[in-house]
Symmetry: C2
Subunit: 390 residues, 2 copies
């Protein structure tokens, strides 16, 4: 087991009607002048926007609004948010939405506290962001895990770069999570969310760090839970328990608990960011397409790790003729789960051909040389994985 630090101080407030506590929590963490940050119309249609603005106003909080966050959130809006915060002496950012809104809020929170351009920190994430405004979250989409994570992923349309930065300083102070709020999500988004959650778990599972039994088993438990409850949620989107399982699993999958004692891989996320950076497809769809391809490409780096998950999660049992067949069967079971969830598993299904493979593979390693840890991937490897995913 590798040495590690684990620190996650987000206060999780989980369950029915918990959004009623929003104003109280903002005040607990010292907020008085709030930027209310959100996406499009969905929170207006669902009534959540009205509820939250009323709560903040009743509590006497000063509020400035910035909506308009889109999936694969943009740098432009982050700049606009920074300007708004500075003009209005904002001391707290409330993100009402999913991962895109939260990541955008984190970009703004950091941008308010750095000298110079926050984008420099995304393009070179070895640069440490010194501070950030405090953030709180009312989560509407369980997927990205950004509600208690250290990270923010932002897309700069200038050049089509989708990059990551963050640190302890942007872990949200609180995350309000009411599974009922997720009932209005379109079914496709439930599937994208489950795919993203499972991807976070895979990235942490496939490690070359010395054996780490507890973390492996906790990840396996979380994958199993999401796979089972994901199928159930597609059938019955208003099954509370099942939506609650997915929502809580989404947080657990990405709050760093499940990479204690190890270095995760993250190659597939980096390769996917190039895809959704250029084509603007849903992150969860891109991951469903790329993970099987990545697994086929890298499994011989440590095939026993694949055998373990085949056995414990996918119920692919011994004896089989050889290890390769077990892994094949496991990847097929995973693909079949993606399909049942209504997700694509090939680039051709989302009308992407090989036109930009070379360009994406090269851009993927800019400033870092390679991506991934389970197997270090260079542009030729990345191109090969895109090709396997065709």
């Amino acid at each position: 087991m590798d040495n590690f630090q684990f620190y996650n101080p987000t206060r999780i407030i989980f369950g029915k009607n918990t959004e009623n506590k929003t104003a109280k929590e903002i005040k607990r963490y010292g907020g008085s002048r709030v930027l209310l940050h959100y996406g499009g119309n969905s929170i207006k249609k669902s009534g959540l926007y009205d509820k939250i603005t009323q709560l903040l106003s009743e509590a006497g909080l000063f509020v400035v609004e910035l909506g308009g966050v889109v999936p694969n959130p943009r740098l432009d809006l982050v700049y606009k948010g920074i300007e708004l915060c500075k003009e209005n002496n904002i001391d707290f950012i409330l993100a009402v939405g999913g991962g895109s809104v939260i990541d955008s809020a984190k970009g703004i929170a950091m941008g308010c506290k750095v000298e110079g351009d926050i984008w420099d920190y995304y393009m070179d994430n070895s640069k440490v962001v010194p501070a950030a405004l405090p953030i709180g979250v009312v989560l509407t989409i369980p997927a990205a895990g950004s509600e208690s994570s250290t990270g923010s992923v932002i897309t700069n349309e200038l050049g089509g770069f989708k990059r990551y930065t963050g640190g302890e300083i942007v872990i949200p102070r609180f995350a309000i999570m009411n599974p009922e709020i997720t009932y209005t999500m379109p079914k496709a988004q439930i599937a994208y969310g489950c795919s993203d959650i499972i991807a976070h778990l895979f990235e942490r599972y496939f490690t070359l760090s010395p054996n780490n039994d507890l973390t492996d088993r906790l990840i396996e438990s979380t994958i199993t839970t999401v796979m089972n409850n994901g199928l159930q949620a597609m059938k019955n989107p208003t099954d509370y328990n099942c939506r609650a399982e997915i929502m809580w699993a989404g947080t657990i999958a990405h709050n760093n608990l499940l990479n204690t004692g190890r270095i995760g891989d993250w190659g597939t996320h980096d390769i996917e960011h190039e895809l959704s950076g250029i084509y603007d497809i849903a992150h969860g769809a891109g991951l469903a397409i790329l993970f099987p391809a990545w697994m086929r490409y890298v499994n011989n780096e440590n095939i026993d790790k694949f055998i373990q998950i085949a056995n414990r999660v996918f119920g692919v049992d011994f004896p089989r003729e050889n290890k390769e067949l077990i892994v094949d069967a496991m990847i097929e079971k995973l693909e079949s789960w993606y399909k049942t969830m209504g997700l694509p598993t090939r680039l051709s299904e989302v009308n992407i051909d090989n036109t930009h493979f070379k360009e994406m593979a090269e851009k993927c390693v800019v400033n870092r040389g390679s991506v991934g840890n389970f197997k270090k991937l260079y542009p030729a490897d990345i191109e090969a994985i895109y090709t396997l995913a065709l």
Copy 2:
């Protein structure tokens, strides 16, 4: 799934040589005048005491020492610690030891901030402790999970009461956990520790709250890890990975993550506290004796929960003639694990007879009427469980 709040801000600093960071962490959390709290001679023999005191002194921290914490830590020493802290304007308590030392430190930390007698809060834990001095931990015994928990259990020899209080305010700021430090533990203590950890998991597993798949599976994973690595640690106490698994599992088992969405039972802990309050036997031994008896007494409250753990953790598979036989087989497997670990599974093995059963059963419910949640236990039930454990 029940509504819940989860908040655990302890900074876990895990791995080899991490004790070198002690002074730096105390300073991070604003400490300058430190009470160094510990138990007996073991940290002096192992060299840890010298290392820590040197680090604190080099860092220019003012230090007052209070050693002498015993298993089932005593109220008398808590009173002494409170006095010492007040006399010396202490602003930080460093606990170097296991659960007893940490619980004693928590008692002192709370006692410094309450008007009146801290014991009143233990005897009536509906009374909210308003504040506490900050605490840091260098953990030497993985067992109690107190290094990141909200609780403190203290014994008042006057009346033989062993009682619990706590709250968010006593969650340690940091916990330094180097598995190598645990190498010098006597083997019996490894076994007591594993028994305590597994007991924390059972207490959280057996709930009447609505079904909660993820938490169930995470608990099962942690139990499996502790059972496997516990056996390995008894064979080879200096197997680093295996000691690391147990140490990290001990924290996970008790940092409240694994009772999200449910109300735990805790009846067996309460019944055990009476035993170790009067007889001063090791807590881990008392739990190994009482859990099988408790399971036999209560399993028909929700036998399917027992079937689930029998199947997923103990490998007791279907088909069997009936559910009762599956549960019997599971409890026997658990007893057999305790025995292999060198633990007692009957009161008679530790020379306890029925002399005080009635008295203990009645004292157990003082101020609370009953204990346990999976099945509410009244004095007659508690006496029956002691009798099953004879």
